[in-house]
């Protein structure tokens, strides 16, 4: 495992205001390239040596999970499922089984807007190894038929996974990062870390304790999708996770319209709902999945989903002409904005 010292903070979907370090308080920053993104970790405490040791263990867990959960690594556990589960039940590790079960429950709670069987659709829309292309209608329909968590058989007694038809594929891209961050945060807590922030690609993050072991909360700015240098709104979190999803990271143009890489698994087309969706919840895994699902939902569906989760706060930004309409459900925007010179932490 190679944890690199943090040199710069990538800013994309959210921006972070890091506190001034208290006297006698040590700051340790680490980073890791995994899951096709950059994970960054900042920790505060009295003993820098122990902080770094804890951080290395946490990032090592993310790397381990990346090797097992990757859709792109042909030797990952997920690839083994995708290659074999249409022929036989595939035994999986208990933690992956639990994650798939959780993914199934989240699919139910989001009425199918979140679905890890979106792999065939991602392939047909050219987003697996490219930036996307409009598929033939027959290909799209065939991929849609091979999508749906209801076609995945999870056998708890055997701890196995089976697809009900050939050609299905699980892609944990919309939940794996959140899961990895949540697991890493658990290790950090077990190691005694009292104050930390860990994010993956500035789209999903978790916080432990208060900034710099002091009081108060972490201030996070949700980036404006129309201008990443501009903060759409800020919020404060403490011992919680935040995930921000947007379809514009990888997209292609057809006609006058941009089509992003987030596919609505219910209809088989790139999402056309919110331009940005942000979710705050105690679980980074849930945040990651729900923020993706919200991109496929309208305002009514968003309200409906929010009621199904305890303590979830949601913010969606819907395009309205040349502006964005912000719709919030419990998302406590702070008055304080992040000055430009603090955005890079």
């Amino acid at each position: 495992m190679n944890c690199r010292d943090l040199e710069e903070t990538e800013i994309r979907l959210f921006q972070i205001r890091l506190p001034q370090t208290e006297l006698l308080m040590q700051t340790v920053r680490l980073a890791l390239n995994a899951m096709a993104t950059r994970f960054e970790l900042v920790m505060y405490g009295e003993d820098a040596v122990l902080l770094r040791a804890a951080g290395e263990e946490a990032l090592s867990e993310i790397k381990r999970l990346d090797e097992r959960l990757s859709f792109y690594n042909p030797n990952s556990e997920v690839s083994h499922i995708n290659d074999n589960a249409s022929k036989n039940p595939v035994p999986v590790t208990p933690d992956l089984y639990s994650l798939l079960k959780m993914a199934s429950e989240l699919s139910d709670k989001t009425d199918g807007a979140f679905d890890v069987t979106v792999g065939p659709l991602m392939r047909c829309w050219g987003f697996v190894h490219g930036s996307g292309a409009w598929p033939e209608e027959s290909v799209r329909k065939k991929a849609l038929q091979k999508t749906g968590m209801n076609q995945v058989q999870l056998d708890e007694s055997e701890c196995s996974v089976r697809f009900r038809q050939d050609g299905m594929a699980i892609d944990l891209g919309a939940i794996g990062k959140g899961y990895a961050i949540e697991e890493a945060a658990t290790l950090l807590r077990e190691c005694g870390v009292m104050s930390a922030l860990l994010h993956g690609g500035t789209s999903t993050m978790v916080t432990i304790g208060s900034p710099s072991c002091g009081e108060g909360e972490w201030t996070i700015g949700v980036a404006d999708p129309l201008d990443e240098s501009h903060v759409l709104t800020s919020t404060s979190i403490c011992d919680e996770a935040l995930s921000v999803s947007a379809p514009h990271g990888k997209a292609f143009q057809k006609g006058n319209h941009m089509w992003g890489h987030v596919i609505d698994p219910r209809v088989g087309y790139p999402v056309q709902g919110a331009a940005v969706a942000a979710v705050v919840h105690s679980s980074a895994t849930v945040c990651d999945a729900v923020s993706t699902a919200l991109l496929a939902m309208n305002r009514t569906e968003m309200d409906h989903v929010a009621q199904k989760f305890d303590d979830m706060r949601i913010l969606c930004a819907y395009p309205d002409g040349n502006e964005l309409e912000l719709v919030s459900n419990g998302f406590n925007s702070t008055d304080s904005t992040i000055p430009n010179d603090e955005k890079n932490g």
């Binding site: 263990e57 042909p74 030797n75 083994h80 999986v92 208990p94 190691c191």
Partner: protein, 418 residues
């Protein structure tokens, strides 16, 4: 429960057909059911740190294995075990696992210096044992374990030198031993990472226990705890054990009060005259881990836990199959990918120029061999007590050379039992 595996016999049949790495047919791991008249092998995991967790996760996917008990002396690890494998019993004292007659096999994944007592007690209790590598951190311990394993041939004793079980390594081993690199010139290897090697805990006593790798009295240092698996491949493919080692060690990056080197260089001398240069560091991750075997006809490079490429000399003979093999560019060099199962991929209409989607991790193959041995053995595993003793003896002596900054003869008596 229906599970699928390949039998030991089928694997040996596959091995017998080896005829050159590019055309080797590997075992098909998905084609044979676990014998219906056999019960699952109930395993106990002793030590639930990162390695114990990795082994547990691997066993969940290996046909015939069930993790039924987990032991760790630290409560947070047992809570993790409860979450990961809720049906397994949890224990703070490993003797409770040894006392359980339903447990046939134990996996020892504790710190190296704790292996001796656990392995000896487990063998005495009649268990089959998989012991993580290095087998021991002192010659006395290594010999005690080897002697105990030798004396119970009806029980399985396998050491975690996992590349010995890996089909990819086995195929390249055959390839190299057939003389493909020509006259060997030299070998070189490295293990590079940027990490402190420290472990953290809110409990001060636990911190001391966790950081045994940094304790000069307990550790075999980088050469034993990080490089041993790569070094083991060297002894295997070269077919000889080193007779002398020169070592150097420095603290170049982690000036945090540690006494053991975070950067080492070693030169091993072999009876044939070949020299192997190996370095390791915790300060730089550049190029991570690899081994290179250079010869008059070609050079073979291992990296990424078993992937291998051959770089031919311009005047070397054509071997035929390489025309169709995958070529990968490495700056100005072109490497010919050595795939363990190229013909099988071709037969399955899979592209032999791509990575095989059905390849498992080296750990998986090691665990599969351990489980197969329960069904069809006992027979000496590829990484048996002899291989464990040899690797431990080299690592311990090399670490002494590094600590002292000297050259040390490796007494051949270290490699054997009296």
């Amino acid at each position: 429960m229906t599970k699928k595996t390949v039998s030991r016999r089928a694997f040996l049949m596959g091995s017998a057909a080896l005829s050159g790495a590019g055309l080797v047919r590997a075992a098909n791991i998905k084609t044979r059911p676990w014998p219906g008249n056999r019960d699952e092998v109930h395993c106990g995991i002793i030590g639930y740190g990162p390695q114990g967790r990795e082994i547990t996760a691997t066993l969940a996917r290996v046909p015939g294995a069930t993790v039924s008990a987990i032991c760790d002396t630290y409560a947070p690890m047992l809570r993790r075990a409860q979450r990961d494998v809720p049906e397994a019993t949890r224990h703070e004292d490993y003797r409770e696992i040894l006392d359980n007659p339903d447990i046939q096999a134990v996996i020892v994944a504790t710190p190296t210096h704790l292996h001796r007592d656990i392995v000896l007690n487990a063998l005495e209790a009649g268990k089959n044992v998989y012991c993580e590598a290095p087998m021991a951190s002192s010659i006395d311990d290594a010999k005690a374990i080897a002697r105990a394993a030798r004396d119970v041939p009806e029980q399985i004793f396998q050491v975690g030198q996992i590349y010995r079980s890996n089909p990819q390594h086995r195929s390249v081993f055959q390839f190299m031993r057939s003389g493909a690199i020509g006259k060997p010139a030299m070998a070189r290897g490295q293990w590079h990472a940027k990490e402190s090697w420290r472990r953290a805990s809110p409990n001060a006593e636990r911190v001391r226990e966790l950081n045994w790798r940094l304790d000069p009295e307990l550790t075999t240092g980088l050469i034993g705890e990080a490089a041993l698996l790569q070094m083991d491949v060297a002894y295997w493919v070269l077919g000889e054990l080193p007779t002398r080692v020169q070592g150097f060690g420095q603290i170049m990056g982690w000036n945090d009060g540690r006494e053991i080197a975070d950067t080492i260089q070693t030169i091993f001398e072999f009876p044939s005259g070949l020299h192997l240069i190996f370095d390791a560091t915790l300060v730089s991750s550049y190029e991570e881990a690899y081994e290179v075997y250079m010869g008059s006809e070609s050079t073979i490079v291992f990296r990424d836990r078993g992937k291998a490429w051959m770089f031919k000399e311009v005047d070397s003979l054509m071997l035929g199959w390489e025309v169709y093999a995958r070529k990968d560019r490495f700056y100005k060099e072109t490497g010919i990918a050595l795939l363990a199962n190229a013909t099988q991929l071709d037969a399955q209409n899979l592209d032999p120029t791509e990575d095989d989607p059905n390849v498992e991790t080296p750990m998986w193959y090691a665990m599969q061999e351990f489980m197969d041995n329960h069904a069809f053995g006992p027979y000496p595993p590829a990484a048996n007590w002899e291989r464990g003793l040899e690797a431990a003896a080299v690592a311990i002596t090399a670490n002494q050379a590094i600590v002292e900054g000297t050259a040390k003869e490796i007494d051949p008596r270290l490699y054997t039992l009296d």
